[in-house]
Symmetry: D2
Subunit: 320 residues, 4 copies
């Protein structure tokens, strides 16, 4: 059994990790750390887990094989610089602190569909961002095939869980319900990791992504609509996508247009392709909390420990 | 023209007042006061009013005929004790500070369907609560007819706007969306004004209301389902309701079951009646922000100034 | 491995069964029958299962150990009268055709928290209705303790999946979104099975349930708020509930008020109790598709085949 | 008073027309025709209008000044070819039957921000489509200024009311709630009228619009995000937009990013502009039923009868 510790256990990402890991056949949650909730039962925060006996506890590096760090952006680097994690403990970091090459150190960028072999051998993995995951998966095959055009336009629509659990005006139900708005237009922080991923796969350095993130009126899920103009036929492009993802069990290329709820509460990314003239639409849907965060983190854990990639991740879709 | 001032202008209730009053043919908004937003355009807070030139300003009692006090529960009484409003200025208070007889002083409880004549002559009106409005309207005819049973059970389902604009865990979209929960079970603060209203209409002092307030996953609207057991036939009860509300233009007794969106964004209350054996269901739907707050306040203003009750309140339903 | 057949495979209930059963460690889906979709891949209907190779097929009773009948109300009885299912094949029927004593024949009412032992020995099980499940679980301990009062008032709020997949005005998004309405007031078809269940547990024959079903603006989940008036203290009642459910793993009695999303996409029922004076509120939340339908059916299958009740049902909550 | 007739009165568009027109100070609804509902009160279909005495009736061209034709796409042309509307009666058609030059005949395309003067003099107006309205308003100033680039990428997210009142799988609440999907990718029928409008304003004939329509999980409202790449500065572009719309009261150019609910239940279009490098995002939000349909139709009626454009259209936003 893989002995698991979770640092920063009171947030959404840690809750989702816990929901997956308590049913993972090869993992055992040894502790879930929270400064603010120490001593409380975990269901005081993650209230669906009423039947679960775990309590929030202190950190203890001695008894674990892997540590998931869920401290939030900026705090992860601080935490890891202030605490010495033994070399025997692998680390999966959920923040954006180690995703970019300039920050990575020994961290491998945890995109299995790009870096599966490196992840298998890694001690430290930086788990990708949610938007980055969906956009990368929509573009990787084009980049790898050398046919990604210079100009890319992306609209990515995300759910409220992407904004975390702190109540704010933007996540107030009265504002968000039945509403749509854009944010961080052309400047979203995931553009960095998207750019590095595409270049690593073969894209040109000057790929110019116009990314419009949209706040949707739903809680879970991202639909990224990527538009490029290129000459290859739909058949050629479909073949490129199917070949690229043939050995990646969590990415499915659909012959029919995909929609978001097909993947909610699962670790899947579904992709569909539509073309008219030179215009191509690639649509990628993921659950931002699963393939976009905690599910992909467990996928990475599976790889790092030599397990089948899907272990513990055959999750029932919520679907409705 | 009725010259209007609004004290406490940055909240939901003031915003809705403003949306009604800027199109009211007999009213002119002289100022909308806000301590925290003084000098800013009102659309900085009420962002739909982008085309409106008003700015948040200081209080000035000299230039107005009526003051709407939207300071929030507890703060209204404080504000009115610290400021001397000239006798020439009428006051409509939106909080619960003056609704109960023990607190009322010269305030008349602003339920037009109970107190229309007193409101016409009042200088000060305490505008009723939203749940109280829907439940009172569901029960007033039974109380007035002397057939309200001692035991009443009410489920009232409300939207997130009822909780105000401050972001909290309970109004977080990730929590509230697709969710239902109860709160203040059997203890909601509106029970006091409901009890006094029913007794004023003729109910027994020991009427026992089991009220379960429910947080719904919508923004606007209350549906109150009131169950009592009594012997009168559905025809008799329907006749009692239709007679009671015959002269009250904002209450409609429907022959078909009502539903909430029929009244959203309007000042109407729709009521339907269903009976099986001795069991009677009275369903009353209102928009908590309109008939449950700002719309009813303007209805009260109309009465206090001798206008037709519906002036400025023939609002297009949002409907969908 | 339990070999499973599903008759009537294109509806919501069959889809949810399939989502659970394809990951059930002791079950193997041999076929999923659909007249209208024969030969098509199951993902043509249950579109999340894009990665699943099953196709809709004909019935074949020879190769299975259990048949789930998902033909819809009325059609189940017809199907079973027109087809001879071998005695070696157990049957779990999802309709209301065999739930009432007068209709049951050899069918056992599949409420594990009432009839666990009979289910273990049964060849045929009639799976309970969704509202019935939540209301029964809210009332069974009171009935068994002999303290259920004669008058019971229930508001049950349900999601759109309860209405099935056929598009109708009542399930049209433009109508249902941000809306609330009542239906089948005091006459819902589940009242029969609720009454028989409570009497079986010890309630008086003349128990009078005023049941108001409400259409909520969500897809999955039921919250049933049950109000009764009785003298026992909250502590006594809590003790009665905790004792009743001590050995039933899918029912949790919470010390804090429960809310619906705690159980969505799980087979759990969470219950909370609140009291003021003689008024008691019992709140029971279930996922209408899981504990209210397909999840409970698998729970019944587990019992009928001697498995641990929870096998294959430790499902990740959707939670958000 | 303008005497109004409505042909095809049972759909969403007619309902919204009616909600506006019954409060319009210069209009009187003489009849609302419906074949299928003749003789019924209009609230049997438009159920918020419980207080309204109108009934569905026959067509009678003698007593009206203007006819709104709400027969649906294809049926309008048929209706007008089979019925002779007197020359004294003006016609506003809500379908797409007369929007394109090739189909128009004497119909003027009813976009007041492009064709105000022609509308003032027109007998027949073809009311624009909802997506077309939002996208045209986002692009018209660029086209008129001669700086619209050849490649345009648009994501337009719309509510369920855009799909009309017929229940379908795509508008089923269980499918649509908390979901997102694309449809008619690159082929939406409004592309024709958008193209003609832009060319009329000054765009090149070969403007290539990649339009991705998205089904959102809300009922009312469209947010169109238009991305182009061009050299002019944000200040220059803002100036171009503000000048273009200076005399158009229903279009507001906002200095802050707009969001959809600012305009829901109003006839406004709000527009915001954001730029980074050569990338420009123009965001336009409208209520698809108001500025996108019935509100704009009344705006056209006002123009055709020499009224102030805003008469009867100062509608309270639903806002929440």
């Amino acid at each position: 059994m893989i002995r698991v510790g979770i640092a920063g256990g009171a947030g959404y990402v840690a809750g989702e990790l816990l929901r997956v890991l308590i049913n993972h056949p090869e993992a055992e949650v040894k502790y879930i750390q929270s400064e603010s909730h120490k001593g409380e039962p975990i269901y005081s925060v993650h209230s669906d887990l009423l039947y679960c006996d775990l309590q929030f506890a202190d950190i203890d590096f001695n008894d674990i094989d892997v540590l998931f760090v869920c401290m939030g952006h900026g705090n992860s680097a601080k935490f890891l610089s202030e605490n010495t994690v033994p070399q025997s403990v692998k680390i999966i970091d959920m923040s954006n602190d180690f995703r970019l090459k300039a920050d990575a150190g020994e961290f491998v960028y945890g995109a299995p569909e790009l870096n599966r072999e490196q992840i298998r051998g890694a001690r430290c993995v930086a788990n990708p961002g949610c938007f980055a995951t969906s956009i990368n998966l929509a573009l990787l095959p084009l980049a790898a095939a050398g046919i990604l055009p210079q100009e890319v336009t992306v609209t990515g629509i995300t759910g409220s869980t992407g904004a975390g659990q702190k109540p704010t005006p933007d996540t107030h139900f009265s504002n968000r319900s039945a509403n749509l708005s854009n944010y961080k237009v052309f400047t979203h922080q995931h553009l960095g990791e998207i750019g590095e991923t595409l270049v690593a796969a073969g894209a040109a350095e000057d790929t110019d992504i116009a990314f419009v993130p949209v706040r949707g009126c739903h809680t879970r899920g991202i639909m990224s609509d990527v538009v490029v103009r290129l000459d290859e036929s739909l058949e050629q492009i479909t073949e490129i996508f199917k070949r690229y993802y043939a050995e990646h069990p969590f990415v499915c290329v659909s012959d029919k247009p995909v929609y978001m709820k097909q993947v909610v509460n699962t670790n899947y990314c579904f992709i569909s392709l539509q073309k008219s003239g030179r215009k191509l639409l690639v649509t990628a849907v993921v659950d931002n909390m699963m393939k976009g965060a905690s599910g992909q983190a467990v996928q990475n854990m599976n790889l790092m420990f030599g397990l089948d990639e899907m272990t513990g991740l055959r999750l029932k879709a919520n679907y409705f």
